[in-house]
């Protein structure tokens, strides 16, 4: 077989693989949508999303507690993670000598590889008892420990690596000349970081935060293992909560036995896909803005 023919066959095969990969997300969304239809036809979106009662046997599918649960734990994780990550990234990029940076960075990247169930296991072994026996009594509350707070803490740690590494890279791309200009005027390092570096790095850091948010939003196992999974809107940090991914994971067994249950759970899955797609596009837009500005 001559070279040209080989080249053509190979390129056709590769094209096929590529087309397939580009369509997967659409096929997924389509299938999920089709399976969600039954429940969408019986109830309006606002009814589904704002109702708090989740009793599948009684045909009540109020997603509100899960939406709030997911948003709360993700929000809590971000509140904990963002300051810690930004300060860490600034330290690594602006203050740490390169030797120290070389020592600290690998462990942080290692955090990213730890499986979700292991974080869940750790949460159950350490965080939940800590909250139950130390934190809650200190705050005057009682709880089993399986709570929004546990979920938030574990989730925050899970997003540390992604926010730190992306932010640190962003800081490193800020050109030295701008920093030099600030120093030459007699600014301290922190003033330079606060007024000059942060300003230039803002779009990139925003993208890092969006990435962290989307990682946290879709997290399933760790959250499931430490949040308690009670289908009620949490009223305090020490209350249990239930996230959308956990909902799907916990109930697939009963899915087929109760009418409309499967449709409801797959609607939850569809919501996850749509939110992820939205966040992904958002992050891309922010990154495009950076490219355009630097030209």
């Amino acid at each position: 077989m001559n070279k040209r023919l080989k080249d053509i066959i190979a390129s056709k095969l590769m094209l096929l693989a590529t087309i397939f990969s580009s369509l997967i997300v659409f096929i997924m969304a389509f299938v999920l949508f089709q399976k969600s239809r039954p429940i969408l036809t019986t109830q309006s979106l606002s009814e589904l999303f704002l109702a708090s009662s989740w009793h599948p046997v009684r045909r009540e599918f109020g997603f509100y507690p899960f939406i709030i649960g997911t948003l709360s734990v993700t929000g809590l994780a971000m509140i904990l993670a963002i300051p810690i990550c930004l300060l860490s990234a600034i330290y690594l990029a602006e203050y740490a000598p390169s030797k120290l940076r070389g020592i600290i960075k690998p462990p942080i990247d290692l955090l990213a590889g730890i499986p979700s169930v292991v974080y869940g296991l750790w949460g159950v072994l350490l965080v939940v008892p800590l909250i139950r026996y130390y934190v809650a009594p200190f705050m005057g509350a009682t709880t089993t420990g399986y709570s929004l707070l546990a979920g938030g803490i574990v989730l925050a740690i899970m997003v540390f690596p992604i926010i730190i590494s992306v932010s640190e890279e962003v800081f490193r791309t800020v050109p030295f000349e701008v920093r030099e200009a600030s120093f030459a005027l007699g600014a301290t390092k922190w003033q330079t970081v606060k007024h000059v570096v942060m300003r230039k790095a803002l779009p990139g850091v925003t993208a890092a935060i969006i990435l962290g948010f989307s990682r946290a939003f879709g997290e399933t196992m760790a959250v499931l293992m430490v949040m308690g999974n009670v289908a009620k809107v949490p009223s305090s940090l020490f209350d249990p909560a239930y996230s959308l991914p956990a909902l799907i994971a916990n109930n697939y067994g009963e899915m087929m036995s109760i009418p409309l249950y499967d449709s409801a759970l797959l609607l939850a899955a569809l919501i996850l896909v749509l939110v992820m797609a939205f966040l992904c596009v958002l992050a891309r837009i922010v990154l495009l803005r950076i490219e355009r500005r630097s030209v």
Partner: protein
């Protein structure tokens, strides 16, 4: 030095970038309220010498400095001295204009602000005064809030000059201030420097001999990190003592 009064006194300055010995035992004086040109072929340590005068060399990782630099009798390398104070006194204008990512107004106001000036009226006055001194005021007075990046390269360099003036320095250090500019803008800057020398001590680095001849009152010639010759411009350009100086000036190398 004769009629020149030294303001900056460099004594046995050695600068190492890790293993590279960039400046070798430099001893030189820089006269007050005059224009001093540091000349020499590319890569001979001119910029390093300039930047050691305001300790911007501190920012390089792995740098080692020995020797003294006395400004008005005070050694700037003394550990107890506040570096930010020295840098305020020694304004720097870089080779490539480097406006801060802010508006024109904020660029100039940045300096005073970081040193604690908060009064808006005062800041406004400083901005106007410095832009006038850099002869940029007329071109930008109606668009002070626009981002500085929108200015042309020549305007940006004048902005950098105005920005340096805003913190009331005593000296102006200029690293090849016109090499990135078109001839018209370059002329502007040169004219400004000549005007400013009555109030500031100016040190500038250049590899363009004609520019040095045009502007300098005093000359320091560096070659491969060593000080070859220093003296009043007249003398160095017409009757250099060192044969290497003579060779450089006559265009034999660099």
């Amino acid at each position: 030095m004769g009629m020149f009064k030294p303001q900056i006194s460099i004594q046995k300055l050695n600068v190492f970038y890790r293993e590279r010995h960039v400046l070798k035992d430099i001893t030189a004086d820089i006269p007050e309220k005059r224009i001093t040109a540091i000349i020499g072929p590319s890569g001979c340590g001119k910029t390093t010498l300039l930047k050691s005068l305001n300790r911007l060399t501190d920012l390089v990782e792995g740098v080692k400095v020995s020797g003294n630099v006395l400004v008005d009798g005070v050694n700037i390398f003394n550990n107890r001295i506040d570096v930010t104070d020295i840098r305020r006194k020694m304004g720097l204008i870089a080779q490539m204009p480097n406006p801060l990512p802010m508006s024109i107004y904020d660029n100039i106001a940045y300096g005073p602000r970081i040193h604690g000036v908060k009064d808006k009226k005062l800041l406004g006055q400083v901005v106007e005064h410095c832009l006038l001194a850099a002869s940029l005021w007329d071109e930008v007075k109606d668009r002070l809030k626009e981002p500085a990046s929108k200015l042309s390269v020549g305007q940006q360099q004048r902005l950098c000059l105005a920005r340096a003036l805003a913190v009331q320095p005593e000296c102006l250090l200029c690293d090849e201030p016109t090499s990135a500019l078109d001839p018209v803008s370059a002329q502007y800057i040169e004219k400004q420097l000549l005007d400013l020398k009555k109030d500031y001590t100016i040190v500038f680095v250049t590899h363009v001999l004609r520019q040095a001849r045009r502007l300098a009152d005093y000359v320091i010639f560096l070659y491969l990190g060593e000080l070859i010759e220093q003296g009043p411009a007249e003398k160095v350009f017409t009757q250099p003592s060192n044969p290497r100086t003579k060779a450089y000036i006559e265009g034999m190398f660099g």
